[in-house]
Subunit: 485 residues, 2 copies
Amino acid sequence: MLKNIKFESKYRDFGIKELGVKLARLQRMAQNLKMPALVIIEGWESSGQGNLIYNLVRELNPKYYDVKIFDKLSDNEKMYLEMTPYWINSPQKSNLQIFDKSYYYELFNKKEKDSVYKNYLEGINNFEKAMYDDYAIVVKFFIQISEKVQKNNIESYLDSDYKSLYVEKLDEDQNKHYDKYLKKFDSDIEKTNFDFAKWHILDGSDIKEASKEAIGILIESFEVGIERMMQKRENGERLNRVYKSERTPLDKIDLSKTLSEEDYDSILKKLQKRASELQLELYKQKISTILVFEGVDAAGKDGSIERLIKYMDPRMVKVHAISAPNEEENRYNYLWRFYKRLPKDGDMGIFSRSWYGRVMVERVEGFAEENEWERAYSEIQNFEREIYDHGSLIIKYFVMIDKDTQLKRFEDREEDPDKQYKITEEDWRNREKWDQYIAAMNEMLDRTSTKYSPWVIVEGNDKNYARIKVLKTFIEYAEKHLNED
Amino acid sequence: MLKNIKFESKYRDFGIKELGVKLARLQRMAQNLKMPALVIIEGWESSGQGNLIYNLVRELNPKYYDVKIFDKLSDNEKMYLEMTPYWINSPQKSNLQIFDKSYYYELFNKKEKDSVYKNYLEGINNFEKAMYDDYAIVVKFFIQISEKVQKNNIESYLDSDYKSLYVEKLDEDQNKHYDKYLKKFDSDIEKTNFDFAKWHILDGSDIKEASKEAIGILIESFEVGIERMMQKRENGERLNRVYKSERTPLDKIDLSKTLSEEDYDSILKKLQKRASELQLELYKQKISTILVFEGVDAAGKDGSIERLIKYMDPRMVKVHAISAPNEEENRYNYLWRFYKRLPKDGDMGIFSRSWYGRVMVERVEGFAEENEWERAYSEIQNFEREIYDHGSLIIKYFVMIDKDTQLKRFEDREEDPDKQYKITEEDWRNREKWDQYIAAMNEMLDRTSTKYSPWVIVEGNDKNYARIKVLKTFIEYAEKHLNED
């Protein structure tokens, strides 16, 4: 793609100022429609990215765009899932986010045979698809220059006052091995030229012309994006129910399983000690652990979590109680708040409720549209695949009790002053929709149990039994994961 | 303080489990009262901080506390105002935050004569006072051990499997130069033993006893804190209006100042270029710049900002449009969201409206209680003092127009389709309270104009005049700041 640059924009004869004003107007429109916009600027070193960005934003209201520079990731950023810094900095609804370099910078600098290269490819696909599905305007630019132009640019920067700001080792290395880099760029760009997020190659030999071209492309992208959004508002989304699961895994479980108080007492502490040893070993090996706890209300999720982490070091283990997203979180893709909470390498993040809210409470209560939660099954699979490929241990527990047991526990909670805080009106309301929730849970369990991230169903009527099963499963999976490496 | 440790807790004869249950109950109560809690754990290296934390939290609900480890700051964290990482991680209302090491770790490791030592001292005072004024429970522990106990601990860690996790160079260095460190700890602790946030020294020779003592102290701190909160809820806060300014700086300004279109055109671009050169020079010298824009509605703040930054590199300049705090921001001290937005060294942060909302809109509309906004004058002075002492350049612009000019601009905005988004019902409502706002603004200008952070009043009736004054003042202050260094 880099060898034959074609002009795409139909605005070639417009002045740059005129184009800027046009773009500013469209951006305000997108803002009113609460659409996010993401513009990615990549290119050769010393190709004039700074100038391009300056030209792009000059007519925009500085309150509504933000430029985030990603060149080298910090040591701290490197301790998280590959795509985390980009997710965290993704555009809010109504805002325009410019990435000055991005995950592509990481991709370009990784060899294809590196396992982490694959992680980036898959993470990038997931990220840009999620943006697109949220009706974001996603535009990716690559500034292409010849070996000679790059050489000239480097020389003129070196002559200026600010050479240390502009020229680094990589610039000179690229120029020295131009053909090698060109091949790599071309191949990576080809691989990430998705239908939902295409690349636009700019001719960097004249950065002013390239800027006009870029603004023209941005204008068209805004026009197309806004039209797509308007159509959705008028006609709704085309319903796209991929597959309705008929399987009902929850019907098959045996809730009569119990464990005597004696047996419980005799093994609890030993298992807890073992679990904490394993956590420390995971920490030493810099493997992060993600535990998900889902289940009907009062199934005993939190009690199981408390027993599981009893002897673990609280400095490396964090429990996240997930409820409805807040105002800020609502301005992003629903996975944003979970990327933000993923533990760093070596740490453990426990989610008491999780991203599965999308296909349970948000589905049942109508907070997500049918298309949104239908899409979520595969989005969640992709998300968990990223976590798995990063090398993390992920275990998902589903704690189940029957309807009578739930009633008994609700009543107990209302009577015990130390437990009253655990029961609310909402719990009673959810109980009335028991059957709808069970149907959603059955479909969820069926459709999101993957080889790399299976569900562990925990029979919860007997708390002793449930707590021991949670512990034993953690030990089993952790040992297996540690032995694999 | 470190040589004579006294037992403080009256709970010496209670079992550790019993104490934990008591603490958990109090924490739930504090949670219901929406009180934040901050527990700081400091002490000698190899003194058993991990064990202490483990004992502190074992009976608490893991969903409602969080442990944040601060040992070495990352390179990125070091590029911000000293206290930024701690402010960002301060406890939310209803939550218990444990700092495993903290700003004290930085303080202990700085020499008293270092200029940055003073910055920490002043920043710590401001931070802990702000927490206290927000009715947070603030408890600071220091684990004291003898040279011999430390030696034994280090040796036993070195014998264990996890020596690399526990023992670092600093541990051994402390033990080698025990007396020197002891003297430094003692002196720093003395200096930061504030009335509103006292130190508690724990005898680390028996970490289990020390833990019981710590939980006992925590219980008492929660009891005292909760009582203080209850009293406030019942009786309100004692009104504490320190000083009512009678000065009216806004009456004295000459709004008839104008600048002809010709003069404007002839110097605008030159000044803009000079401003962008200075920004780059500040960037090179790693000096961060904070610009505050306040003023009545439609005074022309945003237009002035746009002209000012016209030729600056958008990658280093960020404009923050500040409106009402969102749900998450409301769970913290009102300065939290501004600490979070301060630019890193070398960058420029422009605030279109700012922390001054506390003493303007929040005061006039009653969103803050009288005591809260009264306190804010000195809190803001302290905040800006921290910024100044960090080496940053701070300039505050107040753009003023008269009431007739405002009316004209409101009407213009309503008629121009490209400007309609700038005018809302709220603007008209605020206009009805013109006199109240002017009174609040006068008091603010009088009470927060300091030597290190003065207000620049900008006569705004004539937009040309205002824009040039903003540019010229920036140039003047930036040149002065650069020459001082």
